[in-house]
C-alpha cells in the first residue's frame, strides 16, 4: 500500500520534472533544498556524465554507506551495552517496535470502524474475525507449549550454568564459616594471654584482631562477588525463551484484538445498540399506550428517556486510545500553534526593536533574562495560566468551540495543549525576535536613501522597504525558532502530559517493558525525521523570500 503510494508520488515527480525541463527542475530541487538529487537529474539529461557520477558518488552513495556503517556500528554496540535496567535495542528490535506500533494503530482503527459497521459489512467482518479466531486457537496452544518448553529448557540451562558456582558458594560458605570459628577460638585463647601480658603484647593482639577482621571482610567480599555473579546469571534473559515469549505475546495480542473486535461487531456495535434500544422503545410505547392515569407518567418518562438514549448512541463514537500517528499529528499541530503564537509576538516586537533604538534598549533586559529560561520552567507557569483561563475544559466556551471546529476538533485542544504550545512559543520566539530586529536595523542605507528620495511615509517605508529587506533574516530566525520549538515541544508534552510524542516517550519510559527502549529509539527517528521535514520546509520559505540568492545552510 505504502509502496504503491511512494511509486505513484515518484512517478508524478518524474513526470513533472520531464515536463518542466532540466533548468526548472534543477531550480525547484535547489529551492527545496534537495540538492543531492541534482546530479541524477543532470545525468538523466546526459550532462557531463562523468562529473554527475562523481557527484552521485559523493552526495548519495557516501551518505548511504555512512548510514549502513552507522547501522552496523549500532548493531555491534547495542549488543555490548546492557545494564540491568535494559539493553540498548539494535536496529532489528527497533524495526520490530515500529511494526508493533503500526499494528496497534491499525488495530485501534479497526475497532473504531467495527463500532460503526452495519448490515452486510458487519456480518462479513464478523465472519472474518471469527474465522481468524478459529485459526488462532491451535497456534496459541502451540505457542504456549513452546513457551513452556523454552522456559523449561532455559531453566535447565541456567541450572547447569549456576550449579558449579552454587557449589563453590556453598563449599566456600562452609569453609569460611569454619575458618571464622577457628579464628574466633584462636583469638579467644590469645585473649587470655594478652590480658596478662604487657602493652606490647596487647598491641600485638590488636594487630592480630585487625588481621583477622581483614580476613573476614575479604571472605565476605569473595562470597558477595560469587553471589552477585550467580544473581547476574539468573537475571540474564535467555534468548530462546525471549523469542518464544515474543511469539506468544504477538499471538495473545492478536487474540485480544480479535476478541474486542468481536465485541465491537456485536454487543458494543453502535447499530446493535440502537436496535436494542429501539426494541425497548417499542416496548415502552406499548406500555405507554396501555397505561392508565396511575402509570402513564412513568411510561412517558421511559419513552422520553429511551429516545434520548438512542439519540446519544447514534452520535457516540468509540473511545479510541491515542496511537502514535495521532500523537505525532497532534505534536506537529502543537508546534505550529506555538510557533504561530511565538511569531505573532516576536515579529512585531522585533520590528519595533529594529526601528527604534529606544525600544530596543527597553526590551534588551527582557530578552537577556527570558531567553535562556528552560522550557521546564515555563511549562508549569504556562499550565497554571492556561488552566486559569480555561477552568473547566469540558464546559468552557473556548474549548467547546475548538472541539466543534471541522479539522482541529479531532485533536481535542485542551489546557495542556495550550500550555505546551505557549511554552514552545516562549522558548522559540527569541530567535525570531532578535533576527527580525537585526534585519530591520540593518536595512541597507542605500535603500533608505531611495525611500527618502521618494518621500515614502512611515508605513510605506515599513512595508515597502524595511520589512521586505528584513525578510530573509527574519525567516532565518523563524527557521531557528521552529527547530527550537520542536525540541522544546517534546519536553513540554512530556511534562504537561499533553497527548503527543513527548507523552508517548514518557509512557514508554514508564512502561519499562523489554520493548520499551526499542519503541523509544523508533520515536527518536520519528522525531528526527519530522524535525528534518520542518526544517526543509522553512528552508524552502527562506529561499523563496531571499532575493539575493543568499546561501542557506544545509
Amino acid at each position: 500500500m505504502l509502496g504503491l503510494w511512494i511509486i505513484l508520488i515518484l512517478a508524478c515527480l518524474v513526470g513533472a520534472a520531464a515536463w518542466a525541463g532540466k533548468h526548472r527542475t534543477v531550480k525547484a530541487i535547489d529551492v527545496a533544498g534537495l540538492n543531492f538529487l541534482t546530479p541524477i537529474v543532470r545525468l538523466c539529461y546526459g550532462e557531463e556524465p562523468e562529473k554527475q557520477l562523481k557527484d552521485i558518488g559523493r552526495f548519495i552513495v557516501v551518505p548511504v554507506i555512512a548510514i549502513l556503517l552507522f547501522l552496523g556500528a549500532w548493531h555491534v554496540v547495542s549488543e555490548k551495552i546492557q545494564t540491568k535496567s535494559g539493553k540498548l535495542p539494535n536496529p532489528r528490535d527497533t524495526l520490530h517496535a515500529a511494526k508493533a506500533i503500526n499494528d496497534f494503530h491499525y488495530r485501534e482503527n479497526d475497532k473504531q470502524a467495527a463500532f460503526n459497521l452495519n448490515g452486510e459489512e458487519r456480518a462479513q467482518e464478523l465472519e472474518r474475525v471469527e474465522q481468524r479466531l478459529e485459526e488462532l486457537k491451535p497456534l496459541e496452544a502451540e505457542v504456549n507449549k513452546n513457551v513452556a518448553a523454552a522456559k523449561e529448557a532455559a531453566k535447565e540451562r541456567l541450572a547447569t550454568k549456576v550449579a558449579p558456582l552454587q557449589e563453590e558458594l556453598d563449599t566456600l560458605t562452609a569453609k569460611f564459616k569454619d575458618a571464622k570459628k577457628q579464628r574466633d577460638d584462636e583469638l579467644a585463647s590469645l585473649a587470655s594471654q594478652a590480658a596478662v601480658g604487657d602493652e606490647d603484647a596487647k598491641n600485638a593482639f590488636v594487630g592480630k584482631v585487625r588481621a583477622y577482621r581483614q580476613l573476614a571482610s575479604d571472605e565476605r567480599d569473595r562470597l558477595r562477588d560469587l553471589r552477585t555473579e550467580i544473581n547476574d546469571m539468573r537475571a540474564e534473559k535467555d534468548p530462546e525463551e525471549q523469542r518464544a515469549l515474543a511469539e506468544q505475546t504477538a499471538i495473545a495480542e492478536e487474540r485480544q484484538y480479535l476478541g474486542k473486535m468481536q465485541d465491537q461487531l456485536t454487543d458494543s456495535n453502535r447499530y446493535e445498540k440502537v436496535d436494542e434500544e429501539n426494541a425497548k422503545l417499542q416496548e415502552a410505547r406499548e406500555t405507554l399506550y396501555a397505561a392508565d392515569s396511575a402509570t402513564i407518567l412513568k411510561a412517558a418518562t421511559k419513552v422520553a428517556q429511551t429516545e434520548d438514549r438512542i439519540d446519544r448512541i447514534e452520535e457516540s463514537g468509540y473511545a479510541k486510545p491515542a496511537t502514535l500517528p495521532y500523537q505525532v499529528k497532534r505534536s506537529v499541530l502543537c508546534v505550529f500553534v506555538g510557533f504561530l503564537i511565538g511569531s505573532a509576538i516576536a515579529i512585531p516586537l522585533g520590528v519595533l526593536c529594529g526601528l527604534s533604538k529606544t525600544f530596543m534598549a527597553a526590551m534588551t533586559p527582557f530578552i537577556a533574562i527570558f531567553k535562556p529560561v528552560s522550557p521546564i520552567v515555563w511549562l508549569p507557569i504556562a499550565l497554571i495560566v492556561a488552566s486559569a483561563f480555561i477552568p473547566d475544559p469540558d464546559k468552557h466556551w473556548f474549548t467547546q468551540w475548538l472541539w466543534e471546529l471541522p479539522l482541529l476538533g479531532e485533536y481535542k485542544i485542551n489546557p495542556a495543549f495550550i500550555a505546551s504550545a505557549v511554552t514552545v512559543a516562549l522558548c522559540s520566539l527569541w530567535a525570531t525576535m532578535v533576527n527580525t530586529a537585526f534585519g530591520v536595523a540593518a536595512v541597507d542605507k542605500d535603500h533608505i536613501n531611495v525611500a527618502r528620495v521618494l518621500r515614502l511615509g512611515f508605513w510605506s517605508r515599513l512595508f515597502k522597504i524595511v520589512l521586505p529587506s528584513a525578510l530573509p533574516l527574519a525567516f532565518a530566525g523563524l527557521r531557528i525558532s521552529l527547530g527550537v520549538g520542536w525540541m522544546v515541544l517534546i519536553a513540554a508534552e512530556l511534562l504537561s502530559s499533553s497527548e503527543g510524542i513527548g507523552k508517548y516517550i514518557w509512557d514508554q519510559f514508564n512502561n519499562g517493558a523489554s520493548d520499551s527502549f526499542a519503541n523509544m529509539v523508533f520515536v527518536v527517528f520519528v522525531v528526527g525525521i519530522i524535525g528534518l521535514v520542518l526544517d526543509r520546509m522553512m528552508i524552502v520559505f527562506q529561499r523563496l523570500v531571499s532575493f539575493d540568492g543568499a546561501p542557506t545552510a544545509i
Partner: protein, 285 residues
C-alpha cells in the same frame, strides 16, 4: 543667481576626534537646463557631492540652493541615480519603477501607469526583462534600470552618479545619446558625475573637476563649446575636442601629482620602514 547652487560648503564625516573633511569651501553653480559633468579621482568626494545636492546629507557649513530655495530634504524633484544603483532586490524591474511611479504620481490610472512604466523600460532597452529581479540582471542592466527609475520620476534636477560606468563602450554611447536626448527634450538641469573625460566632453556643457581630497573643492571649470548634436564619429577628429580633452586630462594628472608629492613629503622623514599611509588611495577614477 544660478538654478542649482553649492555655496561655500564645508562637509566632513565622522566625529571630531577622527574627522575626515571631504569638502572645504566648495562652491558650484549650475544654470537651469545646463548639463554639467563633474570629474574627479576616486574618493575625492563625488558621491558626497551628489548626496549634498540631493539633500540626503546636510552641509556643515554653507548651503545648497535649488531655484533660490534652500534644500532641506530629499525629494523626487531631485532625482538621483545612485552609484551602486540602490535597486530594491526583492522587486522586479517593473516593480522597482512602479514603486517610484506610484509614489510620485499617485493619481495616475492603472492602465496609464502600466504604459508609462513600460515606456521607461523600453527607453533603457529592458523590454523582456520586466519580471527579472535585480539579482538576475547584469551590472549594466541594473544601471539602466536605476536610470529608468529616476527618469520616471520626472525630476527637475537629475543627479547622475557615474551612471554609465559599468557599461560596455557600445551600450555606453547609446545611453549617452539617450540621456542627452532626454535632457534636450525636457530641458532639465543635469549634473553628472563621471570618471571618463571623453564622456564628459561629449555630453556636458561644462566640466568641473573636483580636486583631490581631503578638503576638496571644485577646481577650474572647462566650458565645452562644441556644437550639438555632437557626433561621435566626427568628434574624434575635431581639434577643439582633442584640445579640451588633453587639457582636462593634464589638469587631472597635475592634481594627482600634487597629491602624490604631498603624501611623499609625509613619507620622507621616515627611515626605511614601509608605513601604511592614511589618506585616499590614488587611482585615476
Amino acid at each position: 543667481m544660478a538654478y542649482l547652487e553649492l555655496d561655500n560648503v564645508d562637509f566632513g564625516f565622522g566625529p571630531v576626534s577622527h574627522r575626515y573633511e571631504v569638502f572645504e569651501r566648495a562652491s558650484l553653480a549650475v544654470e537651469q537646463n545646463e548639463f554639467v559633468a563633474v570629474i574627479g579621482f576616486s574618493g575625492s568626494g563625488k558621491s558626497t557631492l551628489v548626496s549634498l545636492l540631493a539633500g540626503l546629507l546636510k552641509p556643515d557649513r554653507g548651503q545648497v540652493h535649488i531655484n533660490g530655495k534652500v534644500v532641506a530634504a530629499p525629494g523626487p524633484d531631485k532625482g538621483v541615480v545612485f552609484q551602486n544603483y540602490s535597486l530594491l532586490p526583492w522587486l522586479s524591474v517593473y516593480g522597482n519603477i512602479e514603486l517610484a511611479v506610484k509614489q510620485v504620481f499617485p493619481s495616475m490610472k492603472r492602465g496609464e501607469r502600466r504604459d508609462y512604466i513600460q515606456h521607461y523600460i523600453d527607453m533603457v532597452s529592458l523590454r523582456g526583462s520586466e519580471w527579472k529581479l535585480p539579482g538576475e540582471l547584469s551590472g549594466g542592466m541594473r544601471q539602466r534600470l536605476s536610470l529608468a527609475r529616476t527618469l520616471s520620476m520626472k525630476p527637475e534636477v537629475l543627479l547622475l552618479d557615474e551612471p554609465l560606468s559599468a557599461l560596455d563602450a557600445l551600450t555606453r554611447s547609446q545611453l549617452q545619446d539617450e540621456i542627452i536626448r532626454i535632457w534636450e527634450e525636457d530641458r532639465r538641469t543635469v549634473l553628472m558625475i563621471t570618471n571618463d573625460v571623453d564622456e564628459a566632453v561629449i555630453m556636458a556643457d561644462r566640466i568641473v573637476p573636483l580636486t583631490m581630497g581631503p578638503a576638496a573643492h571644485l577646481g577650474r571649470e572647462f566650458p565645452v563649446t562644441l556644437p550639438r548634436p555632437r557626433d561621435r564619429a566626427t568628434l574624434n577628429f575635431n581639434p577643439e575636442f582633442k584640445e579640451l580633452r588633453n587639457e582636462v586630462t593634464r589638469y587631472m594628472m597635475n592634481l594627482n601629482e600634487e597629491a602624490k608629492s604631498l603624501t611623499r613629503s609625509v613619507t620622507l622623514p621616515l627611515p626605511d620602514l614601509q608605513p601604511v599611509l592614511p589618506g585616499p588611495r590614488v587611482r585615476v577614477g
